[in-house]
Amino acid sequence: MLLTCRLLTQFETVEPGQFVHVDTGPERTFRRPFSVAGVTPAGEVELLIELRGGGTRALAELPVGASLTMMGPLGRGFTLVDARAAGAPSRAAESDPRAAGAAPRAAGAAPRAAVVAGGIGVAGVRLLAQRLFESGVDTSLFVGARTADALLDATLPEPDAVRVATDDGSRGFHGTVCDLFTAESVDLPGNTTVYGCGPRAMLDALAVVAGERGMACELSLEEMMACGVGACRGCVVSTVDGYRTVCKDGPVFNASVLVPEGSAMEVAGG
């Protein structure tokens, strides 16, 4: 479902990967986080929403013109590679000390990007893909889903350029989008930055592939949220520096700092 929201107070800027926190009605204690999937020329915010439970159903049932309360844009988004510069994403490499080791610079050639999204994860990278195309970065798009029907490649800026995978083989590559990326990215140079959004298991697998290829990698994570602003410490994920909040420190993390889910690695303690 694509929900287009006219805002009473315009967002000043939106980083791709940031999210809004939406009140879906008094039956639910928590707001629901959704990535900003697009911003129209008129400044409207576009959300791409998959029906899951009560909250998303309530949004789907809203009549056109209904009013909604949302907070945003929240969190820390993706670091865009700069087409003019040579090297890895500027912020990841320079302004964030935690990410420093993870962004190898390939001097010379213009940096490239690979965007990999599974399922509704497309929502989290749609604005990113748009910005990358706009800024002229050579970008490969990979999109996966369980079945052909669930594929969201058509919502991306250049749908024809998207390579698709389905778990059941009903369209495109037969397998996961990470398998597809593994197969097709062999020719990509080491200064490609990989951007991922989707189920955690897919992201953990993607981080491994990117790591093997020496590529910088940024992943957008999901966790249940309460406050959405870093106050309650409810939405944490394990990183090499201890628990970090998805709502404020993320949702986008450099893959090199994340502790894969289910791994035995201990949390450093905070």
């Binding site: 009140d23 008094p26 639910r28 204690t29 928590f30 707001r31 309360t69 907070m71 966790e223 249940m224 949220m225 309460a226 406050c227 959405g228 602003v229 870093g230 106050a231 309650c232 410490r233 409810g234 939405c235 944490v236 994920v237 394990s238 201890g242 628990y243 404020k248 949390v267 450093a268 303690g269 905070g270």
Partner: protein, 314 residues
């Protein structure tokens, strides 16, 4: 204009609305989202002697009418609190009450001493429901003697007002409250969360990494409200109500049951604007009721108690 200020435990709060420990971080997280001049006090995240990483995620689950959290007192520890967080909180235009938790009376005392001597600290909240204080079958919060020892130690360590925050999960919370009062607490916060759990039937696993969490939100309101009523009969010190407040009328229920002030927590998550809504609502109610001081609501339901004479159809 109604004067919304209220005095509790010697502190003059701009309004009776306080923000509950653990839900507002150290304050600045909500800067720009909450008008802190309308907040009587914020209670900062419970601080422990050393930093705590907290519990394994997931740490949050929704329930009908409420939520569970199993944060596990993740906090920066005393040093981080003193060197950074307390000063940040102190810059907000509201009072700061620092919540502290130790594993022994001595630890409570050192926390109170160090935090209490700082100018930013208006008062201290003693969190005796710290899940870290493991005891065989009788947890600290259910043990009048244990709580008395903590309050006594804290009382010696600081002159700042001491708020004792109780757990609703004790059959004999009255003895605990009385022990706390006798040991020198200046006010009671009634009360913390109830232990609860949820299971995800798809994965067949507890929804929380720690299995159990604390139930907060409207589901809890009737339970904590009953405690406020009962305890305000047994103790002489003021009571701060907490649990499930999300509207002005909820806050008034607590005040009418005997609370002098109240705390809002979970409701912030649906909307930080709940602060304005509740405070505006209090002002309106006071005008309608011809009350010029909100303390007029405290215990009001104990004065006029004639439930049978309610007329319902007019």
């Amino acid at each position: 204009m109604v004067d919304l200020s209220i005095t509790v435990a010697g502190l003059k709060l701009a309004t009776p609305l306080m923000l509950a420990s653990g839900t507002v971080g150290y304050g600045p997280e909500y800067d720009g989202l909450i008008d802190f001049t309308r907040v009587g006090a914020i209670v900062t995240k419970t601080v422990t002697p050393r930093p705590r990483a907290g519990n394994t995620p997931p740490r949050l689950a929704e329930t009908r009418g409420g939520m569970l959290n199993s944060i596990g007192l993740e906090n920066v520890g005393l040093d981080g609190f003193l060197s950074e967080k307390l000063a940040e909180a102190g810059r907000l235009p509201t009072l700061v009450i620092a919540s502290v938790a130790g594993e022994t009376p001595d630890e409570f005392a050192s926390l109170c001493e160090a935090v209490g001597e700082r100018g930013e600290t208006a008062g201290l909240e003693l969190n005796v429901s710290c899940p870290n204080v493991k005891r065989a079958r009788r947890p600290l919060w259910a043990d009048p003697d244990g709580v008395a020892a903590v309050v006594t130690a804290a009382r010696r360590a600081t002159d700042k007002p001491l708020f004792l925050k109780l757990s609703p999960n004790a059959a004999d919370v009255r003895s605990v409250a009385e022990a706390g009062e006798a040991a020198g607490a200046d006010a009671l916060v009634v009360a913390n969360t109830l232990p609860g759990m949820r299971i995800d039937v798809t994965t067949r696993a507890p929804m929380l990494g720690n299995r159990f969490g604390g139930l907060s939100g409207p589901a809890l309101l009737p339970v904590n409200l009953a405690l406020v009523w009962k305890l305000s009969d047994s103790v002489g010190i003021p009571i701060v109500g907490s649990g499930g407040i999300e509207r002005t009328e909820d806050a008034l229920e607590y005040m009418m049951a005997g609370a002098s002030a109240f705390q809002v927590g979970t409701a912030l998550f649906r909307s930080p604007s709940v602060v304005d809504q509740i405070v505006d609502g209090l002002a309106k109610h006071a005008v309608t009721d011809g009350i010029n001081c909100l303390s007029g609501y405290t215990g009001a339901a104990k004065e006029v108690e004639t439930p049978c004479q309610r007329t319902r159809a007019d």
